[in-house]
Amino acid sequence: MSRKVTRRKFMAATAAGAALATFKFPAPAIAQSAPFKLGLLTVKTGPLAQGGIQMEQGVLTYLKEKNNTFGGRKVEFFSADTGGSPAGTKTKVQELVERDKVDAILGPLAAFELLAITDYIAENKTPMLSLAGAEDITQRRPNPYFLRPSATSAQAMHPMADFAAKELKLKRIVTVSEDFAFGHEQMGGFQETFENAGGKIVAKIWPPLVTPDYTPFVAQIADCDGVCQGFAGSNPLRFMKTYASAGMKYPVVSGETGGDDALLRIMGDEFLGMYSCCPYTLDLANDSNKRFVAAMQKDYGVDPGFYAAGLYVATQVVDEGLKANGGKSDDRAALTKAMRSVKLKDTPRGDLSFDQYGNVVGDFFIRQVAKEGGKYVNKTLKTYKNVSQFWTYDEKAFLARPVYSRNYPPVKS
């Protein structure tokens, strides 16, 4: 008796469920006043989280400044945490594209995350603006829906090498960097330009991304007059500590992650005198940067670094591109084209435009760490104007060479 009741109840429940399921949500009418949907892929958990959280702060700062409105359209913002793994990035980009139906994506952070989703993005025709390295996405394997408003892995290293050879008069350098694409490409670019300027790379040392102790790697540094480090995340702090405590005195040069402004508040004296080249510098004295820095300090109590500034600028590019496209985002190819055609003057990194592959052409700053009033600062020494990803090389010749890698260019003995 009791079982019959259960079954009847069950049938009723099933029927109700089926009835509910047939009610599909009505598709929203796409009108011009519909909100513009902006997605962000970032890393909020795990070892890369420090940069990832700054990325989100950069986007939010810009959105707040513009009162959440781009060219008359309200902006709906979706943030997703990839956890810093390629599989997680794939899941989250699907969430943004398939569920939230975003019009443009900012991020991801790391090159291996970008490599995992670049084909997917091209297939789904969603414009993506990332600060991840992965040179070839704007070079030999271009993605028509991709923009990089920050820098390729090697873009900051070309001017750094030029500066090291011509102004610091260094002759023999040992490079140390993490053993993944971003590190390989940074050091490849450094070597190319440094050797063209008459210098020599003595050795290239590759510690893994997760290295508990840098002592054995620091011990290999010898027979040189300078060191180039290309560490990312919080690794520069640990490397420089080990380097200083081993009594090393050679001058150190670095890229945008190795001397990131966001690291300043946790640096120690071991950083004093270190040079770095970055597409953003905290002390750039233009209106846009003053506004940005003040807002970041007010809302989050931190000095912005490369990650926050990179995403602030990326959001600005989306805004300007959307305006240039008349506020329309249905035709993704046209939107991407409009974004790639913007020429901005008032950004926290100064002048900015894009080349035909969607990579930035902009200013790069050589800075040196100094101490002012008990605080560490990156003091800008020299600005290289309008640097492209091809540096001074001919574009065709550059693309005909293999991509910078662990073994290219090879170390000459």
Binding site: K24, A87, K90, A116
Partner: protein
């Protein structure tokens, strides 16, 4: 015959039929391909968990290196495709390599059981992870190998999420049926015998090592199958897939759902995948939530969600049975 169609079995049959209908009709009542993709993920991770459950649940051998095996098959598929081979040969090679490396794994780790087995599989898994990281000429290290395109069996392109879901569903149903038959076969009984009383089984003339070895091979096969689905799903493979966290995650699927049950790993896989993909979009501290759920499982249903719920259900019905003493007591199995 009458026993098979007893009330209990009829109920089970109805539940099974409903589950099947729900799974098959999922793409029709779920709005948006995002949730269909989540469904595909649940299905192939459930196959992975079913494979591990053969060892953890039925053989009593806890492996902490299964993500390494999973990774071998995934890398084999990706590498073959990168070298220009077709989908069929890539899949076949991945299956063979997956099962062969499981055989090697088994030969090394079956020298012990219990803690020793855990430690050896942990070490082997870490070696494979290290290889994926540092054997750069094959795996391209941290950068991983991209996989372009998905196969199109019988003209149905799996690039379409709904088709991919059905492919995963077919594989999943076959896997469940295989495990169902396996567990109820004399061999399955012998395997559970080696779990509970290895010395007595030995005395009875069973070759305990060989039984465990075959169980490992079966587990390896399911792992390889799920890895192939995974690599086609993500279109990408990198060393993070082989990490210890990944091994622990699939072990958690098995343990939380209920080791040694058919339904347990499926429930566990659903739980972990849903929290990882769907809930993490709403809650920033989703790892914390996952941890809290596992703590709750350990406290409330230490034997796993599925056997735990059955126990709680029986507890309730027994109380009711005590109130109405006409119910038979023979249905209760030890």
């Amino acid at each position: 015959m009458s026993e098979i169609f007893s009330a209990n079995n009829r109920l089970r049959f109805i539940a099974l039929a409903i589950a099947l209908v729900v799974l098959v009709s999922l793409p029709f009542w779920v709005s948006g391909i995002y949730y269909i993709n989540v469904g595909s993920q649940i299905l192939f991770f459930a196959v992975f968990a079913l494979g591990l459950n053969i060892l953890v649940g039925y053989a009593g051998l806890v492996s902490l290196g299964h993500a390494g095996l999973f990774g071998i098959s995934a890398y084999a598929t990706a590498y073959m495709l990168q070298q220009g081979f077709g989908h069929t040969s890539a899949i076949l090679v991945a299956l063979v390599i997956g099962v062969a490396s499981m055989a090697l794994f088994a030969v090394l780790s079956l020298r012990s059981s219990g803690i020793g087995f855990i430690m050896i599989t942990l070490a082997l898994g870490q070696i494979l992870w290290g290889l994926a990281y540092r054997w750069i000429s094959v795996t391209d290290g941290d950068n991983g190998i991209p996989v372009r395109g998905r196969p199109a069996p019988f003209g149905y392109s799996l690039t379409d999420p709904v088709n991919f879901y059905y492919a995963s569903l077919i594989v999943f149903i076959v896997a469940v049926a295989m495990v169902f038959i396996f567990v109820r076969s004399p061999f399955g009984a012998a395997l559970m015998g080696t779990r509970d009383q290895p010395r007595r089984m030995n005395a009875l003339g069973y070759h305990v090592w060989m039984i465990r070895f075959y169980a490992c091979l079966f587990s390896g096969l399911l792992t390889a199958v799920s890895a192939i689905l995974f690599v086609y799903y993500t279109n990408f493979i990198s060393p993070q897939t082989l990490s210890l966290t990944a091994s622990a995650e699939v072990l958690l699927m098995v343990i939380s759902g209920g080791p040694g049950t058919l339904l347990g790993p499926i429930v566990g896989a659903t739980l972990v995948v849903v929290i990882k993909t769907v809930v993490s979009g709403f809650i920033e501290r989703w790892n914390f939530l996952l941890g809290a759920i596992f703590v709750a499982i350990v406290i409330l249903v230490p034997e796993g969600i599925v056997p735990g719920s059955i126990r709680l259900w029986r507890l309730i019905t027994r109380k009711r049975a005590a109130a109405a003493p006409t119910t038979t007591t023979t249905e209760r199995t030890p």
